[in-house]
Symmetry: C5
Subunit: 367 residues, 5 copies
């Protein structure tokens, strides 16, 4: 899987197809890449077969023998394999190009009798990682292209292995099951962000620091990625629900409506958490302003108290010659000169404290 | 009822159904949970019966005997009960799944001849608490699933007990009455926020402190939750008004239009209060900036007055040897040296005060 | 008239009808309230009659005798009167409920052959005050419910008294005239805010203070209220223009299009002034930042000049014993020690001034 | 021409027509105003006549003699003239009212066989000035009302004088030419703002001051006015392009599509410059924060260096009696006491400088 | 190519056509300009010819001889050439005017049997540079006008030279290939901004300085330009996909849908990076506030420690005459007076440090 940052800074090696002006129907993939993993499941009612294929050509006889064949191709670096599969399944050149251009927006397209569905799987490890799923649905096959081995389809495979209604259903239902697995995998991702933001909220209120801002920024960034992925997926699923296709029967349509509801819910959650991110940034800034105010008040109180006091000490630290005239600092020779000076300072101090109390600056640290 | 924060950080035990790839039509609920409360009202014109049921199966004979049966199920933790009710009332598997997935968006769906309505009840205790209401409406029954015992339907029950037009009306009208009760319960919630924000507004202007920000933040958060709940409810009610369903007669439709108006009004109010929250945050920040300015002015005035004065005292506190040369601090030996220094300080002070008055810094604390 | 704040914090006594679950068609008004004022105008071509009614029932004979009767009911606190009028005019229960629920959004509804129009009148006294107008238009009557005596219909009455085309026109035209009066009354309100904001703009630039922020906040609040009132009114008038109703003839439709234009213009102005409010807040904050910068510069200049000077005075105020060794503060005994120290200070001062000029801190207060 | 501020604070004398409840079809204009300037051009193929009219009635014979008459009325203060023109051309009362209500939004209305077009001309002198153009288009006339003498139609007149295709075209084409002249006059206005903002951008980056903020604020205000004027004009032109009118032939329609493109482009530019204004405000605030940071750093560096140094000088300025005990300030009598104190200060200074370098506070003023 | 800033401050020499009121169908271009470069490719299946033309008239015989002729005109300053080409290809006057008005929004217009397409090519050198492409598509020709020599069509030419399917396709397919080349050239531009913003993000977090703000501002500005260019292009391509034109066959339509997807993806990316710009500005401001807080804390700590200490040293630097009375500063004559004073200072220091630790101000610089 590739990090979402790849969505932004896609290296030329991953997306060499954007040679401006190049013919749109030429595949640009690295030719020295390893063979992708080919995993196939074929079934028909009670019969079921599951194996790894060595060569793409091996799928031909399965297609002939089985009513429904589901082939998963993990790894897109081998142009030969992909081209051969394109020939075998009769895939449109533009669609094949979208398969290897792994940063497509989700979409559904009808090529002749085939449905071509692009979606994006997400997984939250240390960072948010996403992977393009390209799905071709034909009358007797489902062909899934993945960027790397490892997917979220294991439960679907388990259900097929176990038998049950899915074995009887047409290919559209299988495609729905795969999409459903992809979509449901977004819930734990979004919830992880919810928990992260909850923790951040507490931290921002209790002790706003710079790392919190970076984390809010990162969460915002990821949520934006998720939204950018899920939004077109919603449109795509909606078009599957609305536009008639012979591959989607009415029952599947009802289930897809459920998928659509889930996507709306995910978008809803993502939008909520994005707004929460903005709120947290505001909260952070106002916490910061609050602390600044508090710091400034301490500074001002200290300065306002000690500057006048310091002035008085400085005053009586002057060296005017008291012996030369009675006008020169007679206080220094008063009997109670020192107590007088201390009293003056005490009065000043009390006056300042009264002023601060009047201003309301001497509340608790919360004010 | 569950707190709205549950909407965000839903624990796995509450929403175990998001096992990616699991078949959509399998119920995932805790099997060791207590039996839910089953409360049933059945009526027909003048006849009326109300009782608690011990077992779901008891409802069957009521359905046979009474033209309209209203069953309320409070508590969703017992899979057996819910599955059995599903069988008895012929509920669709996807709908049943939505019943136990208690964080659905509000929606209306048509399953065969049944209407399936999801809404969310709100109650404002210490925090905002919400609870999912799942409503199945059939020709001769209304089936309401609640998360916990306790609801806002008591007035509807009272009207049924008292007799009156509702006893004559079809099930659609009963369903409307329940929805209406749910919707009207949002008004006191929204008004409570209105009052809270009014109080906050006064506080923010009079004495901006950190707690006010937290409270604004919390209110914003809750209002966002309310909006997220009410918005799809509006769409759902609108679809009930527009899309023809045999269960909704014309009279009910007129009443639903009224419901719709109420929802629009609630959304309107919520949006207004959300904008008010943003305004309050701005107001808070500008209050804070104002106070900071005030604090800084005090600091600057104090420093600007006492630093020059302190300099003068420091000057005449230097120990240059006046006896060595007449150039060394002759002021110390002047007859009026001390008064001269004091006069210098007074002049400095007056100059500074004039400067501050000129700058307009010595206005009232409001400026 | 009620203040717009009532829109937010509506006391239970004003809106007792939101008893969740209560039947929608029950009137909840205070029963011990005074009788509302009933004012009636009936006319037909040259004939014209205008009088106050003591009892609602008195209108029945007018309805029988005159082709067009316009009854204005000012005061909604007496349930009996309103219920009786409902019976006399055959008003729908839901509509009647909206009449007494005085915080409805503007809307137009068709009940049978009657049009039911809800609008809101505004008046700007010390604060913005609004009042709900509920208008029933039938073939031979216009029935207007107001919250309190006092309205903006006097010019319409004057035109009816004077005779002229309005006397010949159907009830739809009279309803239009009332709506037009209501809508035109918004222009002076909006302009008053325009003038207020103009004055605020000058003040914010010249002397940003805390009161200005409160006033901007208040204006924003009121403009939001006006928008919230006028927006649905625009929709309502638009539906009158578009949707065919036998009560609205083509001529009236042309005039309503003019009303619609006025509403669009009012919304336009309100949006402009709301944006202006936001701009003023920004302007205020940047004025504040500017002043803060200015204050900080003064503080920094003072501190940066006097701290080094103070250091020098402190240095030569140390009491090291010059007699013990020639290393101990020989300057004190120099012939030109004091001038040397003063020169050192002058140099420091000049250096600092040069630095500030270099930094551009000694420009005019504007920079 | 009136300043755009008039849009906001329109004096009662300019808009006396908003007497709430007054009949919509009464003209309210000052009766003692000077006669407006009447300028007429009539043409037909090769024939062409251009003159000033003294009295409105003079246009009648031109209308009879010439296939196309273009009358421009500059000045709206004389009710008699306008009413008489209304009678001569058969103008609708509501349209005439819009002519004298000079703050209409742009619109196109069809009154019988006449088109009524309201637009607004802009000119950028010291401030942005706008003027309402009310255009009546009939089969054989174009009637243009302006607020004041002086317009942007001179090139159109020149083309008519010179002959050419416009002389052959129907009135719709002439109306288009006038609209086109009005619309194209917005380009220099918008560009003037572009240049002003470019200069402001440089100033905000180089030396953010308070006047820049006022100018950004003013530009924002004017651009908002332009948008508010142009936006409805776009709708109006669009309705001319789409809605069939016998006065607009296909060729004119193609040209109007071009007008529409220009309006879209103007709105595009205005939106861009408005966003730029917001960006500049942000830039200004961050420049200000930067400068504040810089100022604060200087203050902190100065204080942090001189406060410890001042403490040391203060320490050895204490007057403890060294003769009373060897514990009392023995340093004062050390042989190298003064060099020791100076060394202590130098060490402190170096420590502080190291600390600041470590903090990165001693970079260039840019950091 | 012209810089995007030209979009804003277009010099009169570049856009002299906006003479308000001038006839729309007159070409305003500089007459003394150099002849533009004319490059022509004509082909038909296996036949292929490519050459430079000296005079526009030379294209006539090519048009007669070859089924498809592609003429590229680079340079728009010579009115004669452009007018002559207009005559030869039968171009509409308004379209020709759009060709020389090089700041058109992208659009597609149908003039009789010709398609007129305006797009804008982008290239990122030191700054973002864009150039208008005006494309006329006829049955047997594609005519491309460029502002300057140099374009992104070389790969298309190479494919034509090499033969292949494009040689067989109709002119619509060639036009698509050119548009595709233009659109794909936006990807490297947008990615360059992505990388720039990535670097800026690191810098803003690590060391926020003024240059970063300028760069964010510049990136925002450019991205706004790109969006303003691409947005109407999307609409234009969409209208090509939807609206039937005999020049666009079904295969080309499928390819244009792909173009449309790319444009949606570009807009998506641009919007994401624009949001990122705003986030970075926020991040910058909060970094700045953080640093300010840090600076203020240092200042406050220093002042709060050294002001009380300085007060104590000042106190014992006063010159009250200890010999005159035992009340006058007896501490000076204490045996342990100096240690007592030092101890007092140490206590003060410890108290302050405890206070700061309690406030949490003595954490790492991160807090």
């Amino acid at each position: 899987m590739s990090s979402t940052d790849d969505l932004a800074s896609r290296s030329p090696s991953r997306r060499p197809q954007f040679v401006p002006g190049a013919p749109a129907n030429t595949l640009h993939v690295k030719s020295d890449a390893p063979t992708p993993e080919l995993h196939v499941i074929a079934y028909h009612g009670d019969d079921f077969i599951e194996k790894r294929l060595d060569r793409p050509a091996d799928v031909v006889e399965l297609l002939d023998q089985w009513p429904i064949t589901w082939l998963t191709v993990a790894g897109l670096d081998d142009a030969a394999t992909i081209s051969e599969l394109g020939r075998i399944f009769g895939l449109h050149a533009l669609a094949l190009e979208d398969v290897v251009q792994v940063h497509q927006r989700a979409k559904v397209e009808q090529y002749g009798e085939q449905l071509f569905i692009v979606a994006r799987m997400a997984e939250l490890n240390a960072t948010l990682e996403t992977e393009q799923l390209s799905l071709f649905v034909g009358k007797n096959f489902v062909l899934a292209f993945l960027e790397d081995p490892g997917d979220c389809f294991e439960p679907v495979r388990a259900r097929l292995r176990a038998g049950g209604p899915l074995r009887q259903a047409p290919t559209g239902q299988l495609a729905y099951s795969l999409l459903d697995a992809v979509i449901d995998a977004y819930f734990p991702v979004v919830e992880a962000y919810a928990e992260r933001l909850d923790r951040l909220e507490d931290r921002v209120i209790a002790r706003p620091n710079r790392r919190a801002v970076s984390e809010i920024h990162a969460a915002k960034h990821d949520l934006r990625s998720v939204r950018r992925i899920v939004w077109p997926l919603r449109e795509a699923v909606n078009s599957l629900v609305r536009d008639p296709s012979p591959l989607i029967d009415d029952d599947t349509r009802v289930h897809l409506r459920d998928c659509y509801d889930h996507l709306v819910q995910i978008i809803d959650l993502v939008e909520t958490y994005r707004e929460l991110c903005s709120d947290l940034t505001d909260l952070y800034l106002s916490s910061l302003s609050n602390r600044m105010n508090e710091v400034m008040k301490v500074l001002t109180i200290i300065a306002t108290i000690f500057m006048p006091l310091g002035f008085i000490t400085g005053l009586y630290g002057m060296n005017f010659n008291t012996e030369r005239s009675p006008w020169n600092m007679p206080e220094l020779n008063w009997r109670y000169g020192y107590p007088f000076a201390l009293g003056l300072m005490a009065l000043t101090l009390l006056g300042m404290l009264w002023y601060f109390r009047h201003k309301g600056w001497l509340g608790d640290g919360k004010a």
